[in-house]
Amino acid sequence: MDMTVDIGGGLRLRNPVLMASGTFGHGAEYQGLFDFAHIGGVVTKTITRHPRAGNPPPRTAETPSGMLNSIGLTNPGLEGFIAEKLPQLSDLPTARIVSIAGTSSEEFAEMAEALCEHGGFDAIELNISSPNMKDGGMLFGCREDSARDVTRAVKDVADLPVIVKLTPNVTDIVAIANAVEEGGADGVALINTLLGMAIDIESARPILGNVTGGLSGPAVKPVALALTWKVASAVGIPVVGMGGISNATDAIEFMIAGANAIQVGTATFVDPLAGPNTVDGIIDYCQRKEIVRVAQLTGSIALP
């Protein structure tokens, strides 16, 4: 069976299962638990130009079938990442995607250029959709013009595939997806977290130190699937779907809706083997259904 999939710009994955940004550290945390060659690839925690401490704790809160996080992009910054994390990442026997976020198109481009010059990874994911960055992170992803511009600025300097990660917190995600396609994106990834909040009624305080955070996990899966279907039906570039994927059944739903590959995020916190188990489950399904190329699943939805 052929499990390989293309996710844009010539990047071919061994199989369609990636580990989502911010839920897999830089890979090292899970080493020893499973063979990374078993999954399609990993996306790093988002890197910013300068080191960031992140938001004050508490940073996570459980919600029905999901969780809120307000991590706030804790990361060692571009130089710190290149010096300390990239060497380890480069050694992983799977596709390595570096996620970056900037405060301006220029900063995005500067980071992409520095990373590409250094090398040692396979693609860039532009995080224009984090709800946990006060200095504009999400705004890029909320407007067509800025989404297009930042994509173009990065594409102008990057010689690796560029995947743009979209926020669900918009009126018309298809318009944003079209804009980044116009900007030259090799692929789109969706969804980042939904804006959410929780309050402790005994103290009347928000549970998160940062008041609001991003909702993820099975609770958001129906939203993510609807948006993946809409975007995949509208763009001509590959789509990486995510949001609440915990197992092969979930992953296959996204592929049927139009995703070329998927990412497993929060589920890894509950089951560190969620990623490789998803790969195995997709293989079982394809065998049972006599599907010879997993890519045939993509967009195979039977509409009424």
Binding site: G22, T23, F24, G25, E29, Y30, K45, H50, P51, R52, A53, G54, P56, P57, P58, R59, T60, A61, E62, T63, P64, S65, G66, M67, N69, I71, T74, N75, P76, G77, G80, G217, P218, T266, T268, F269, V270, D271, P272
Partner: protein, 238 residues
Amino acid sequence: MRLDARPIAQSAGPAQFVQILADPVGSPYLRRPFSFLRVDRDAGWFEIYYDVIGPGTRRLQEARPGDAFNALGPLGRVFDPPEGHLLLVAGGVGIVPLAFLAWDHPERRLSTTLLMGANTATRLPDLDALLPADLVRHVSTDDGTTGHAGFVTDLIEQHATPTTAVLTCGPHAMMARVAQITAELSLSCYASLENHMACGFGACVGCVVEYRESDREDERYRRVCLDGPVVDAHGIVW
């Protein structure tokens, strides 16, 4: 609650914890962290002890002999107690990791003292069931129904020697007070933190605590599940 799990039991050390999936169908969704109370490395089991407070611990309570749970561990760093006299200061279920230290280091029990505080006598756990018989213990209750009347932290000074090291686990306010008192007494102090955890693995960067000093901005907050759960109580922002 005793769980058979040879690989976990065999490698578990003091202060480490285990992440238990209370419900495989996802309600509650996340795993719940629990300290080891006792382990039998030969028999391949470990014991946890918990207060029932929400959906996760309620599911555990409903368990019947023979039920299976998915447990991940041991997680966190092993705490190697420093030489010399050790003063354990516990509040509530914070006694669990401290009891494990005493169980796991029988040779240290004679040089260890446990202080245990509670609001009132009825809130005290059954210390005889939880602690090795030869561990010296002193109790306090806020309302004086048993032991010293007042905060457990009042007892620290009288039970400490100049070289005592203090290890505390319990409610945040109690640990903060222990940190303050030990600083005043110039004693070294460690706290076993119980921050809310999503992964327990270092992957989510959610369980962080703020350090007083850090070389770099991204190290200001550090992960309790990886760096801890035991941290230098004087090194963090309470």
